[in-house]
Structure formats: structure tokens, C-alpha cells
């Protein structure tokens, strides 16, 4: 419990000459879900990509205490990092089965777990992933990360663009696996954040502006509004027994706020 599974310090990253991650430091505890929050374009995706070495970065990244920031992406992943990218990035031309087979790294991949969580995929094994619905593609993307016995999962906006019912299914699947593996989760839907997250890290303009417990953060309406540009979810969710109400999910308010880019 003591040592964080992932420790990032002084992380900088640039894309096309633009600094998108600036001196970012945070840790992901060895259990639970850490939510990485912030408005659109603050650098959440870039932070995750920088951790994985998918974009040029400098800084100190440790996985269970070992530095990994000099390693190429595939070696970092091989050490037990599962990645569910924003926008799913399934291989459209490959079948569901091929997408999953490609992701299998372990000698004994956990096919039963994946089949239990996403029974839909079993029937669609032979279907090309490009012809799946958005929700089904997200299942494939999650399944790819869950097939292996990872030490940490980096999950980037798994509910983006999904219907409320599917959002619930994805959240449930994540909740189920969060018992066995720590997760760093980028998520805009604050209901889902409340359901899953134990800790939060909030970014603004490529920098960390808040870290702490998830419940305390979400309960602080002023802070949520100031940092995310939306109102907290607790009033609505208390009233509707936690059922995700679409109008209450986080949609960034771009008109108010100190817009930093």
C-alpha cells in the first residue's frame, strides 16, 4: 500500500513545438482509481501519452519505484502498463478476435475475465472492429488492456461519446477490475468519477493545480466549478439515486473562466 505504483515528477512534454505538459508531478497509489481531471485541452491525454513515451518527454517516471522514462513505449507496457486510449483506437481492419489476440502478452491471457465482462464480444469475434458500434469498440479497447495481468491501467475517457446505458456498463466493468489493479482514469463524467475514483489530480494549462481525495474534491462545488468549469454532481446524483443524468455530466463551460491554453 505504501509505495505508489506510478510516480511522475517534473514531467514535461511538447507536441509540434508546443509545451503541452509542464512540470507535472503526481502519484497513483497502488490501489484504487485516481482520476486525472481538467477542462478540454489542458493536457490530460498528453500526460498519459508522455508517461507511456508516445510523445517526446522529459522528467522522472517510476513504475513501482523503477525509472521507466528512458524506455521505449513497448518496454514500458511490457512491464505491466495497460493503456486504453482516448477514441479507442481499435484496429478497424482487424476482427475483434485479432484485436484481442494482438494484445495478448502474457502466457496465460485472461480470456475468461474478458468474456465475462463483455459477453457481446464473444459473439462478434469474427466481425471487423471498424464495423462495431462506439460502445462495442470501447469494450474491445478495454478488453485489450484487461487481457494481461497489468500493474496499472491508464484509461483515457472510456465513456466519451457513449449512450448513458453503455456509460453505466463501462463504469461497472472498470469498477469490477479496480479491485484488482490500480487505475489512472481520465474522465469527464463526474458521476462516473464519483462512482469510481478514490483520488483526483486536476490539470490546468498543462500543470497540476489540485491533488487530493475524490469525494472531498467533488463535494467542493466552488472548487469543481473553478477548476473544471462545471458544477459538481452531488446535488443531482443525490436526487436521482446516482443514475447518470446526461445534463449533469461534465460539459466544459468555455464562456466563463480564466481560459488558459
Amino acid at each position: 500500500m505504501s509505495e505508489p505504483i506510478l510516480a511522475v515528477s517534473g514531467l514535461h512534454a511538447r507536441i509540434a513545438g508546443q509545451q503541452v505538459v509542464e512540470d507535472v508531478s503526481f502519484t497513483v497509489p497502488s490501489s484504487g482509481v485516481t482520476a486525472l481531471l481538467g477542462r478540454n485541452g489542458v493536457g490530460k491525454t498528453s500526460t498519459i501519452k508522455a508517461v507511456l513515451g508516445l510523445i517526446d518527454r522529459t522528467g522522472d517516471v517510476r513504475l513501482a519505484g523503477d525509472r521507466v522514462d528512458r524506455l521505449p513505449t513497448h518496454r514500458i507496457v511490457q512491464r505491466g502498463v495497460g493503456y486504453v486510449p482516448e477514441d479507442r483506437e481499435v484496429f478497424a481492419g482487424l476482427t475483434v478476435a485479432e484485436n484481442l489476440r494482438l494484445a495478448e502478452r502474457d502466457a496465460e491471457p485472461r480470456r475468461e475475465l474478458v468474456e465475462r465482462l463483455f459477453p457481446d464480444l464473444v459473439q462478434r469475434k469474427a466481425q471487423r472492429a471498424g464495423t462495431l458500434s462506439g460502445g462495442q469498440q470501447q469494450m474491445v479497447s478495454l478488453a485489450r488492456a484487461l487481457l494481461n495481468d497489468n500493474r496499472v491501467l491508464l484509461v483515457d475517457e472510456p465513456t466519451k461519446g457513449l449512450a448513458p446505458k453503455i456509460v453505466g456498463e463501462v463504469a461497472e466493468a472498470l469498477e469490477a477490475v479496480a479491485d484488482t489493479v490500480p487505475i489512472l482514469l481520465v474522465e469527464q463524467n463526474l458521476h462516473v468519477v464519483r462512482q469510481l475514483a478514490t483520488d483526483v489530480v486536476v490539470l490546468s494549462g498543462g500543470r497540476v493545480v489540485h491533488t487530493g481525495g475524490a469525494a472531498e474534491f467533488l463535494d467542493d462545488d466552488d472548487l469543481v466549478h473553478r477548476l473544471l468549469g462545471v458544477h459538481g454532481d452531488h446535488a443531482e446524483s443525490d436526487a436521482s439515486e446516482g443514475a447518470p443524468a446526461p445534463e449533469a455530466s461534465a460539459t466544459t463551460d468555455t464562456t466563463t473562466e480564466e481560459g488558459r491554453a
Partner: protein
Amino acid sequence: MSTVILLLVTGLGLGALYFLVASGLSLIYGLMHVLNFAHGVFLTIGAFLGWEVGRRVSDGTWGGLLLSMLVGVVVGAIVAALTEYLLIRRLYERHIEQVLVTVGLALAGVALMEGIWGTDPIYTAKPAWLTETTEILGARIPNDRFLLIGIAVLVLLGIVLFLRGTRYGLIIRAGVENRHMVTALGIDVRRSFTLVFAIGGAAAGLGGVLASVYYGYVSAHLGSSLLIFAFIVTVIGGLGSLAGAAIASVLVAVLQQFANFYLGGTGDLAVVLALAAVLLIRPSGLMGKAAA
């Protein structure tokens, strides 16, 4: 009628040569986004070394030809893999440098081979059957066309089986779509880069030996002239698409033959016009990815 058949089969034979070059170009571009101007060198060196070995062992026989083809395959694969490993590997994502290096290698390769084998074409011997013709529906078809077509079909089948049936094939197909995501699944995609170069080089080296059968000579410029058409084929077929390369190889070669015969030797012009038409109407090529 007999003329049409002759042009058609000859077009298929020439298309087979284009395909042997274009298949590698297309896979290499599809996976690594490298425009490999050095691909013609793989072909020419395969042709020369294949010829050198084949003629010493058994000149003008099937055994000699088979040996030449084997040498062409091996030499093409080795030279291509070394090119990737020693030069291209350092230059991924650096497109200008890649072009400079591969163009430089192409020029240096031609100069080197001219230095060794001279600037004049060297006429080659082939098995007697290949110099004869077979009559099909009244057309007298030179037999070498059948050899070219048969081998290109085998190569196509072999590559398809490899891509569909092996883990490396799976990695390559996925990598053509989204290389970064392949690495993000913990796969060292660079190993398959070398492999794809080797496969492309093998096909080109084999193509070199077959080109020397078709044209009846080897020359340091064998590769450069085929490479131009192979690039056109690759673009028309859709960069990165093997099926596209196969279809476009046949279309381009047949069009070229017909235009040469019926439109007063305008085959090359017709090919360039076809390229322009495809670029205007379907810029990603016949079978290319929309955004590629």
C-alpha cells in the same frame, strides 16, 4: 483477337514484374511511411548476383534459373534488411532525410553496379522452353510470360498467407493501420519493420531475376526503370494495400501494352494519365485508406 490475347498476357507478365516490386514498396510505405527509392537496387543486385551464380553452376538450364531465383530472393532480402537496419532505422519520422538517403543509395547502388558489371546490358541465357511460344486462341504467347505470372501469383499467395496466418503478419497489418497503438500494446514494432524490408527485398530480388528473363539481359538500370512504374502502381493501388498493388499492377501493365500497340506507343503517357486521373478522383488510391 490474337493480338488482344497477346497484349493481355504480355500485360499480365509485365504486371507480375511490377507487382514483385510494388508489393514491397506498398508494405514498406504502409507500415513505416518510408518512400523507398532504394527499392530498385534490391532488384538489380538480386538480378546480377542471381545471374552470376546461376550461370556458373548451370547456364541456361532450369536448374540454373531456379538457383538464380533463390539467390535473387536471398540477396534481395539481406540487402533490404541491412538497409533498414543500418540506415532507415535511424530516420523514422524524418521524411526528408529518408528520401535523401534512399535516393542516395539508389544512385550509389547503380554507380557501384556499373563499376562492377559495366554500363552495357549483359545478355543472359535461359532454358529453351522460355524462348519458345505457346499458341492460345491463335495468339503465339512467349512462354516466359507464364513463368512470370505463375511466380507473381505464388508470391501474392505467400504474402497473403503470411499476413493472415502468422503473428508477425497480424502485427504488420495492425501496424499499417496504427503503428503507435501497436507499440502501446507492448509490441516491438521495429522488428517487423526489418522483416517487412526483408520480404519486400526478397520479392524485388526475385523480380530482378525474372526481369532479366523477360528482357533477356541484366543491366545496372533494370531496377530504376521498373521502380518508376512500381511507384505509380503503388499510388494507384493505394499506398499500404497489397491487394491494391496487385490489381493496379495488372491494370497499369495491360493499359500500357494496349496503348503502346493501338495508340502509337503512348503506353507510358497513358499510365501517367491514369495516375493523374486516380489522384484527382480517388487520391488515396483504389484500395487505400481514406486518410492515408
